[in-house]
Symmetry: C2
Subunit: 456 residues, 2 copies
């Protein structure tokens, strides 16, 4: 630890933060453009609503509404709020007419995703409520979040930008289930709570599982999640519910490291690039492990539906492998180019034919008789091992590949995944992985193989 | 369990027991010969003692003295008892003069083993005591055992013969440390306690670890051993102290099986024969596991010294293998033809270069920094796995053979074994085992590979 400063150096911080802000702060031109585009969309919606005699309130939400969007982001969240007595379908009808370039998507309810100028616009029907605690659906909460943050964030926008970019650079940004990281709203709440980017990092440095942040002193009900941030507009809700333990700790450790030894790379790390054939060969040779990948058509569902099913399949396949005495080093799941995949890296992937099965304690006469009778053709045994009967019998699967190939369809998979797997799947082993040329997959592999976090 | 009688069938028992007794009961000629030989030896000792003016009492001990020796056994235990004030060395001097064909051996004290006619004779100096509870050495207890059994066994000798032969046939006879089974004295006590061979088996059928047998109602002090048989002549002592859990349960299970379905094979099982090259090849192929054997010169010590050291070495090598992530199926130790050997059968004997090392929880800042700093050149990592830091680094040993070859001399071995191993050792892997031609070793291997007990 010699020669490593453990105190914060404000001067180097400020220089770096200045440089970051230069890159992530929207310019005056950006702001004007966003205002023009969003203003035009809101007008169009209001016009469409009044044509239909709808009591519909159109509002800009998300980071664009709060002045906390990062330069280069061209995302607009626009909410179409209807009275509680209305049919959300009426809002959806309006949303469909905003732009000819749209597709319908589905989260908790249907919404419209449109491409307008060079902006990605989500047009989300919701209910107009008086209290965020009496929601009909999760999206109804968003307008409350926007109002809460907008009313307090003024003057702290740049701190939010720094924090969001730091979270992006350290790969903990994004509350979708694929990532399990921090949402934009959560980043904003942290800044509201701790007043600045650096203070937030300082506080996060000492987080442990079970940390609680309660801005409005709501005395939250107990939560099981590793980090609990009580929602100021809905005290029963944990804003960090989707944050995984590992992403929470990754942010905490990166915060410590940055404060000790700041650098631009925390915000703008080198991009992961698709792994080359040559590097893949070298990695496989150097590791000496066995990579086995199950690859199948991605079911036609959004990532928030797909990824929990992939993780569930990963867990199920892991227990299958371990129950059959194979030994796992690591695993991951991904999807790209219309395919989804489960990757397993095995430390033990071939086993001998002979397999030892332990039976009951020898003094349990009935159990023992059944056990011995059940194995009349043992390779060795029955014999006694530390008080228990044992036999050595041929094992069903001596190869992990065969096991996965044969048993995968019998695993309890999520609904959509089960349907996809029934349609067929490919298993790649070791160097066969090079057959997949998809660059996004190659990047996934590069990230897997060269996983390296700034944590200590 | 249908069609299987669970009650004892006395008629088939008695027929079998009759046949057994025909084979193991010493004939009148045997008895006469034993009396003549032992009588001559006792006379010779008494003569030698009186020549030297020694107050030495010579006595026949063991099964020969109790009329419980099995036909074909030609072992005599003769004790040379001296007053407590004497030097045992004087007894040893006498013992050396009994026969020219002798060698000195060493258990707790030195004794003489002589070949006299076709008998193996142990001539054991000991002290003449009034109370078995005030011993100077374990051998001093033997005369008390002989007197106790001799005074009570009359009429039950044939039951003892049946029990001893049953124990031999089921491979649980012999209290030497190599076997860890039942001593002759223990067999005799069981018959004294339960009156007959069949009753003993019936009682043993329901033994569990912790069973206590206390013939004289001594209220023994607590023991840790799986079976406690309070010594009638020395209540603090457990006669079954050397009996292992597995041999106890092997006897118990064999007793149940015999009572349910009696057969001569329990007493006279087919002999294990040396394994042929062909069978060894076939077994190794069918099992698919990896047999690794460490073979070295047997140190010049008796088996009761050698075997505990071999077992200790076996345990040490097992933990070494498992600590290095290899996986053991089974192991055994043996010695023959001047060699000693440790046999390991491995389920996993090759591992990939890459090895995952788990570090501290990520919130333990100091530990984490040390952990990360200690692995600057990880293949992958550091990354976070369920809250803990992890790295993937090259492993030191990817082959179990290399590990044993290199680390064996560094294991904590017993004194004599360590000396032997320092002189050098050979490692045989798989089919290389066929290089050893020693028939006793080949029999050891046959027993290992074709282990099959009658237990259920």
């Amino acid at each position: 630890m010699e020669g490593r400063s453990t105190t914060t150096s404000p001067s180097s911080h400020s220089q770096i933060l200045f440089e970051v802000l230069e890159r992530v702060r929207p310019t005056a031109v950006d702001r004007k453009r966003l205002q023009e585009v969003s203003g035009a969309i809101l007008s169009r919606i209001r016009h469409l609503a009044s044509e239909r005699g709808l009591a519909l309130e159109a509002m800009l939400a998300g980071s664009a509404a709060r002045g906390t969007w990062l330069a280069g982001d061209h995302d607009l969240d626009i909410f179409l709020a209807l009275p509680e007595s209305s049919d959300l379908g009426l809002g959806l009808e309006v949303a469909r007419l905003v732009s000819p370039h749209y597709e319908e998507r589905y989260a908790e309810h249907a919404y419209v995703h449109a491409r307008i100028d060079d902006f990605d616009v989500d047009l989300v029907p919701c209910y107009l409520l008086q209290e965020a605690t009496a929601l009909k659906s999760a999206v109804d909460r968003t307008p409350f979040h926007t109002r809460y943050v907008a009313s307090k964030i003024s003057g702290l926008e740049e701190e939010v930008l720094l924090l969001k970019q730091f979270m992006k650079g350290t790969e903990v940004y994004g509350s979708e289930l694929k990532t399990g990281g921090f949402s934009g709203y959560l980043a904003e709440l942290l800044i509201l709570r701790y007043s600045s980017f650096v203070s937030t990092l300082r506080e996060a440095s000492s987080w442990r599982p079970g940390a609680i942040i309660d801005l409005e002193g709501h005395c939250a009900r107990p939560h099981q999640e590793p980090l609990v941030v009580v929602d100021p507009v809905d005290p029963k809700r944990n804003v960090a519910a989707a944050l995984t333990l590992d992403k929470m700790l990754q942010f905490s450790a990166a915060s410590r490291c940055f404060l000790r030894d700041p650098g631009l790379a925390y915000f703008f790390p080198p991009e992961h690039r698709p792994i080359s054939d040559e590097m893949l060969h070298r990695q496989i040779r150097d590791r000496g492990s066995c990579m086995i990948m199950v690859d199948f058509q991605a079911p036609p569902v959004v990532e928030d539906v797909l990824y929990p099913q992939l993780r569930k399949a990963e867990e199920a396949a892991m227990s299958l492998l371990e129950k059959n005495d194979f030994r796992l080093l690591r695993s991951d799941v991904g999807s790209s180019d219309g395919r989804a995949y489960l990757l397993f890296e095995l430390e033990v992937w071939k086993l001998p034919a002979v397999h030892r099965r332990l039976g009951p304690p020898v003094w349990e006469e009935e159990h023992l008789s059944r056990f011995v009778a059940a194995h009349p053709e043992a390779l060795s045994g029955p014999y006694i091992a530390r008080g228990r009967a044992a036999v050595e019998i041929p094992r069903k699967y001596t190869s992990a590949r065969d096991l996965l190939e044969r048993e995968l369809p019998n695993l309890s998979l999520g609904k959509h995944l089960a349907a996809s797997v029934r349609q067929g799947y490919i298993i790649y082993v070791g160097l066969e992985l090079a057959k997949k040329r998809d660059p996004e997959f190659r990047t996934f592999l590069a990230r897997y193989l060269m996983a390296r976090l700034r944590i200590g």
